[in-house]
């Protein structure tokens, strides 16, 4: 049974895309989390219990606004679960939901097990016996649900990568346990220095996994799109047009690279990071060379690329060169300036765009921008970067598990560095194995002993 003293969170409304989504947080930490992620529009003092408040959901690390939301705060015992509780009603985008849950988890909550809210309500005496029958049915069905979740976790993006990591951790634990338990045996165990090195490698691997984990990255940084094209085709105005639309829920973020302007926007609830590039010039040795290099990097980092061409100018050699450079990449062709006379024949367009989706817009007048946004949204979903929200949440579980894992391993390293003997880092290492076990299945003491006895000849 899960620890009832944890603060838990989950999507409380139905899965899938919808107009609105409700995220529920329950437990002693829920009010503190509210303070950190929910900024009330007007300087409303305190949190009036059980009244609806309008505000912004803010990423606690970046300070950026993720969405506008209404939220309700309940104080124990007057809540569904009988604990302190908050509920946020946000726009119904799977990525937004996942991003919010991610923020809440980063503030000390964990994702709820199926039926856990109801379970708490029941245990806190918020229900009578007839209701309790219903609760039991819910929890009963969770056995099946958990099996599904488990199956999904096994097939999740991380679980395949985590297996070698688990093996290397078991190796470390086996080494250390053997050294502690079998002092009189003449065992070829690793030195502290080697174990420490292995631990650091494991931590690096985990960090890498967290950083590159795609669903995680999309949630954290948004879907990355590079805007490219030869100079003066209207990249910047298109860029601005895309940003302009959603000013109300977009916060500016200064570009991290000097020659790249990167801004966050949100397309139907999905955070998108738009990167305006310096353009692909034909003269790589020119002063613009540096910018071009960055452009190429932006392209290689991007989940999708918007190629902007000027429809009012005859297709040039440069357009074709750009096309050939971007061959095989996920691109969308934006035919800009449809307010002017077209100099691109249908044949030109067909040749240029090929398999890529294409769209005519006027960045200047805003014509077609809404359609472009829909196209981008489709592309985001089609690319597989954003999947169904249950998958996203599964991946979110993986992520919080990896983060907990990293935390324990760092503590293990610290106990080593403090010169403590094996049993101290082992306390953290056993906890880290527990975290891995949430994804890959438990490692029991017996499993470890088996590993020890198969590896070392122990016994006098």
């Amino acid at each position: 049974m899960s620890d009832p003293s944890d603060t838990i969170c989950a999507l409380a409304s139905a899965h899938g895309r919808s107009a609105l989504a409700v995220v529920r947080v329950s437990g002693a930490g829920s009010l503190q989390i509210w303070e950190k992620i929910f900024k009330v529009k007007k300087a409303a003092r305190g949190m009036p219990p059980r009244s609806v408040t309008l505000g912004d959901i803010v990423d606690p690390d970046l300070g950026t606004v993720m969405d506008q939301a209404i939220a309700v705060c309940y104080r124990a015992p007057k809540s569904y679960t009988g604990e302190d509780m908050t509920e946020y009603t946000i726009h119904g985008s799977p990525v937004l939901v996942a991003a919010l849950l991610h923020c809440i988890c980063s503030l000390g909550a964990r994702l709820a097990e199926p039926g856990e809210f109801t379970m708490r309500a029941f245990l806190n005496g918020k229900m009578d016996l007839t209701q309790a029958e219903a609760v039991r049915d819910i929890v009963d069905s969770t056995t099946l649900f958990q099996a599904q979740v488990a199956a999904m976790q096994r097939s999740g993006e991380i679980s395949g990568k985590i297996r070698p990591l688990k093996e290397s951790l078991i190796d470390i634990v086996v080494q250390l346990e053997s050294a502690v338990e079998f002092v009189d045996e003449d065992l070829p165990v690793d030195t502290r220095a080697i174990v420490l090195e292995k631990l650091r490698t494991a931590i690096k691997d985990i960090r890498k996994m967290i950083d590159t984990h795609r669903a995680g990255r999309v949630i954290r940084e948004g879907f990355r799109m590079a805007v490219v094209g030869r100079p003066n085709v209207g990249k910047s105005s298109l860029f601005n047009a895309l940003l302009e639309q959603d000013r109300s829920i977009v916060m500016d973020m200064p570009g991290t690279t000097r020659d790249l302007v990167a801004e966050h926007t949100s397309i139907q609830g999905i955070p998108v990071r738009l990167m305006d590039t310096a353009g692909l010039s034909a003269r790589p040795d020119s002063a613009e060379g540096l910018g071009i290099e960055k452009t190429y990097r932006a392209i290689s980092d991007a989940d999708a690329i918007l190629i902007v061409v000027d429809r009012s100018r005859v297709p040039g050699e440069e357009d074709l060169r750009i096309r050939s450079e971007l061959e095989n990449l996920p691109c969308m062709v934006v035919l800009n300036k449809n307010d002017l006379e077209s100099r691109w024949s249908l044949e030109n367009i067909e040749m240029f765009a090929g398999e890529w989706p294409r769209i005519e817009v006027s960045a200047k007048y805003g014509d077609g921008i809404e359609r472009l946004r829909s196209l981008i949204f489709k592309e985001i979903f089609g690319s597989g970067a954003v999947e169904r929200d249950d998958v996203l949440i599964t991946n979110l579980r993986h992520r919080s598990c990896l983060e907990a894992l990293e935390g324990e391993l760092l503590l293990a390293v610290r106990s080593f560095e403090e010169g403590l003997s094996e049993e101290f880092p082992l306390m953290h290492l056993h906890k880290s194995l527990k975290h891995i076990g949430e994804i890959t299945g438990e490692t029991s003491v017996e499993d470890l002993l088996t590993e020890i006895f198969s590896r070392f000849c122990i016994g006098k």
Partner: protein, 633 residues
């Protein structure tokens, strides 16, 4: 007809501990054994303690058990293992004079009030309506008993193997218990077969010890019992040597003759105590294995050849021994052998060691699939006190995992069952940093006192000790360092005493390399100088590792909250919807005492535990509703 409150069957380490505990609690106790002259025999190595095992003995000592003091009085070499590591994994071990140990325990048994020792084989259990009534002995007499503790060791259908020779025996040259074994199968217990082995004993006069590396004990021995102050017997050395290629070849050439590899042995052996055949075959890349020569006593020349456990024919064993430098002319007094025996799955037991099927029948020691004298003694103790409590009509006493290795072991056994001989390891405890030898008395002495197994005098000493420690901790926490009160040259040699002004003494003590001793003048000035080295050490441990200790205390509290949700023994798992058939079957068989234990059963998911929890709550709600008068009418 003879009549007792507690009858203990078997005089090994489990049986002796059980009998003495029960008798000391004031109930009429009888111990039946094949041979009262060889009670508490060390059938295998002449040594007690070691990592985790030494912890068990310390815990037993705190509770009022007998193994610790007896081992201290008969120890001929003492070592504190893991002395270079942290306090939680340090543990004492001693080499024992195995004959003096027998004498020591026998003296305790015979001197014990309420306890009678009998030489007789128990051949059957008398059971009526699933309740034990007594036992039947070999000559046909029936002994009445309200509780019976079986501590049969390797005697149940014992079968010894030496090469191709097989012989029914409980130990070499001692008869096996066959009818009792049958009796247990008839009751319907889940019975399995295990195997263990022992190495040859050599005549010390025929050994060239100069070819081995001498291993001495510690100069300052650590004892098992807190009451022990010094060694009684002269101290001896052990000797370390190695196997070699010649020996390995001998084993490979003759492997078919080994009882183990000949396919006749069906029992499962302990992986941590492999025979030398196993070592050579399974770890063929290893060029040599350690061998220890351990004297079996002061008045005997018998040497235990630790590391050469074998079931080869005697002739091969002779060649094997002779292949070792220094043992060329060594004479084998007794060959090594393997032994198979029956055990009863410990999932048949409650946390009290009482069987679930037969009320009043308890199992302890190797019958439960464990190995080791210490493991046996600890179970014997738990069975002994609970048999006594039951015969007095009192509530049982159990030991939570977070409080002791004893409790961890019992819980492992009754929750998970065993599929190979079970030995204690510190890694079996999720609270390793809490279960230390230094605080065994703090953890368990109050329980021992409550049971009447710790004397008033001992308890007063114990309470004074921890009163001083607690006061000292308070002083160190609240007092800030200054340079006025008393100069501390030892401290000044390690840190800048000006720079640490204003820090609490506790903060100073948390710095690496600083000990309470360094603060002695300051402590004396305040009248707080610790009265003993032991107290210093405990205080230092508690302060230095406070962060770690607190984390584990928190983990333990989490477990306790689930552990408080008891599951009634008559709980009907089959009536719970939402549990699959396998889960229902498993839970019905093991009958966990509480939700925490339910969650520890292999294969029981958190969801299943939640389902049971809801069922329990509903039951509670129903009961309270039925019990209450309707408020509205």
């Amino acid at each position: 007809m003879d009549s007792y409150d507690v009858v203990v069957v078997g005089g090994g380490h489990a049986g002796c501990e059980a009998a003495v505990a029960a008798a000391r609690m004031g109930v009429r106790t009888a111990l039946y054994t094949f041979d009262p002259d060889s009670v508490a025999q060390m059938s295998c190595n002449p040594s007690i303690g070691g990592i985790a095992k030494g912890h068990l003995v310390r815990e037993l000592d705190a509770l009022g058990g007998i193994m610790g003091e007896a081992a201290d009085r008969t120890g001929i070499q003492f070592r504190l293992l893991n002395a270079s590591r942290g306090p939680a994994v340090q543990a004492p071990r001693c080499q024992s004079d195995k004959y003096k140990y027998i004498n020591e325990i026998r003296r305790i048994l015979f001197d014990q009030e309420n306890l009678s020792v009998h030489q007789s084989e128990v051949v059957g259990l008398i059971i009526e309506k699933d309740r034990i009534q007594g036992v039947e002995v070999k000559d046909g007499r029936r002994i009445q008993a309200s509780t019976v503790i079986l501590t049969t060791g390797t005697f149940l259908n014992g079968l010894i193997h030496i090469g191709g020779i097989r012989q029914k025996a409980g130990r070499i040259h001692e008869p096996a218990s066959e009818s009792l074994a049958q009796n247990l199968r008839r009751i319907g217990f889940e019975v399995g077969r295990l195997k263990t082995g022992t190495p040859p004993r050599l005549d010390g006069n025929t050994i060239d010890f100069t070819r081995f590396e001498e291993q001495r004990g510690d100069d300052c021995p650590a004892f098992f019992s807190l009451k022990t102050e010094r060694t009684i017997l002269p101290q001896i050395s052990c000797f370390l040597g190695y196997t070699n290629a010649k020996l390995h070849n001998l084993i490979r050439e003759n492997i078919k003759q080994s009882a183990l590899y000949g396919g006749v042995i069906k029992g499962i052996g302990p992986r941590y105590c492999p025979s030398v055949e196993d070592k050579v075959i399974k770890f063929s890349e290893k060029e040599r294995h350690q061998l220890f020569l351990e004297p079996e006593g002061l008045d005997t020349d018998s040497i235990y050849l630790n590391g050469l456990s074998s079931s080869m024919p005697v002739e091969v064993q002779k060649k094997m021994v002779a292949s070792i430098p220094g043992l060329e002319n060594a004479r084998i007094i007794r060959p090594g052998y393997a032994i198979e025996y029956d055990f009863v799955q410990p999932t048949e037991l409650r946390q009290t060691m009482e069987t679930k099927k037969i009320c009043g029948l308890f199992h302890a020691g190797q019958i439960n699939g464990t190995t080791g004298y210490e493991e046996a003694a600890a179970q014997g103790f738990v069975a002994g006190i609970n048999a006594a409590l039951q015969s007095m009509g009192l509530d049982p006493v159990t030991f939570p995992r977070e409080e002791s290795y004893i409790g961890t072991m019992v819980d492992d056994l009754v929750t998970r069952g065993i599929d190979e001989p079970y030995r204690m390891f510190t890694s079996r405890s999720e609270f390793r940093l809490l279960l230390r030898i230094d605080n065994a008395d703090r953890r368990l002495k109050p329980t021992g006192y409550r049971l009447g197994l710790v004397s008033e005098t001992d308890y007063v000493v114990f309470k004074q000790k921890y009163r001083e420690i607690d006061l000292l901790r308070y002083f160190l926490k609240e007092t800030r360092w200054n340079t006025r009160d008393a100069a501390c040259p030892a401290l000044a040699a390690k840190v800048d005493v000006q720079a640490i002004r204003g820090l609490t003494l506790e903060e100073i003590l948390r710095r690496p390399g600083i000990f309470l001793e360094d603060l002695d003048p300051f402590m004396s000035f305040h009248g707080r100088k610790p009265s003993s080295g032991e107290i210093r050490k405990i205080v230092e441990i508690e302060i230095r590792y406070q962060g770690y200790i607190q984390q584990q205390v928190k983990d333990a509290e989490k477990m306790q909250s689930l552990g408080k949700r008891r599951i009634p023994p008559d709980f009907d798992y089959n009536a719970v919807d939402g549990l699959n058939r396998e889960t229902k079957e498993k839970l019905s068989r093991i009958r966990p005492a509480d939700l925490a234990m339910a969650g520890r059963i292999p294969g029981i998911t958190p969801a299943a535990v939640s389902v049971i929890n809801i069922q329990l709550e509903m039951r509670k709600a129903k009961n309270s509703r039925n019990g209450r008068k309707p408020e509205k009418s």
